[in-house]
């Protein structure tokens, strides 16, 4: 994956410190989602079709770690992957809002 040449201009040290956590967690969520989709035997196109999306590009956007699964289609996404929606949402919250997850469910382990 190629990085933008025009990445704007915080000091590099600070960027390395602050940026990675949210992005890395989102990327981990994407990898987890990709694996669950593979387990369900679906392609990105299959999943998009089942979710009623016109294009499958948003599935890729999420799985590449650039976006989150929107709350309004989280339950449907879970069902199509053969997962229980509440457990699916709880697991994603661990990546998307780790602090909120900690407040709601306690420590990670």
């Amino acid at each position: 994956m190629k990085r933008g040449k025009h990445q704007e201009a915080l000091p590099e040290k600070l960027q390395r410190k602050v940026a990675p956590e949210a992005r890395q967690l989102r990327k981990q969520a994407g990898d987890w989602l990709k694996q669950r989709r593979a387990d369900a035997g679906l392609s990105q196109i299959d999943l998009a079709a089942r979710l009623g999306l016109k294009y499958y590009t948003f599935i890729s956007q999420v799985e590449n770690g650039f976006s989150r699964v929107p709350t309004e289609i989280m339950a449907a996404w879970a069902v199509e992957l053969g997962l229980e929606p509440a457990a699916f949402a709880k697991h994603l919250l661990l990546y998307y809002e780790p602090e909120l997850h900690r407040l709601l469910f306690g420590a990670k382990k």
Binding site: M1, K2, G4, R23, Y56, T57, N64, S67
Partner: protein, 148 residues
């Protein structure tokens, strides 16, 4: 020996230099506005090119995504809403530029909502504890005073 440099055929695989220039030029105001904003490129499972406009730090979440699927350019926001699609990248880039402005307001509203939710939760958990301690203190204070 001379090698003729063919430009990558548009419509398949990675973005061409020309395509990237069009998108970056259109979104330059957003990219140059600071706080860690930037852009990245990626691929779908089927090898269709994607361009992501990233929001500010610390999240750097995707605000807009342009994908090229079968010679068409698809513009979506970070929640997967289809904003525009056309065969002309220049036209799609123009719509992307316009969309950035409206997305900024929406992102701010979401951040405020999330912050309020967290504060409300903390308040709900901490407030009863404080009230309980206060009541306990009111009950114990006279007894402690009597001892002293």
């Amino acid at each position: 020996m001379s090698v003729v440099a063919f430009e990558r055929k548009p419509g398949a695989g990675l973005w061409s230099e020309t395509e990237l220039n069009i998108m970056v030029a259109a979104l330059n105001d957003a990219i140059a506005s600071g706080n860690g904003r930037g852009w990245e490129t990626g691929m779908t499972e089927k090898g269709d090119a994607q361009f992501y406009l990233l929001g500010p730090l610390p999240d750097q979440a995707c605000e807009l995504c342009v994908s090229r699927v079968g010679g068409r350019y698809i513009l979506e926001d970070g929640s997967g809403r289809l904003l525009f699609e056309h065969q002309s990248l220049a036209l799609v880039a123009l719509h992307a530029k316009a969309a950035v402005r409206s997305i900024r307001g929406w992102t701010l509203a979401r951040a405020v909502l999330l912050w309020c939710t967290i504060r409300h939760m903390i308040h709900d958990k901490v407030e009863p504890l404080l009230t309980e301690s206060e009541e306990l203190l009111v009950e114990l204070a006279p007894q402690l005073a009597a001892f002293a």
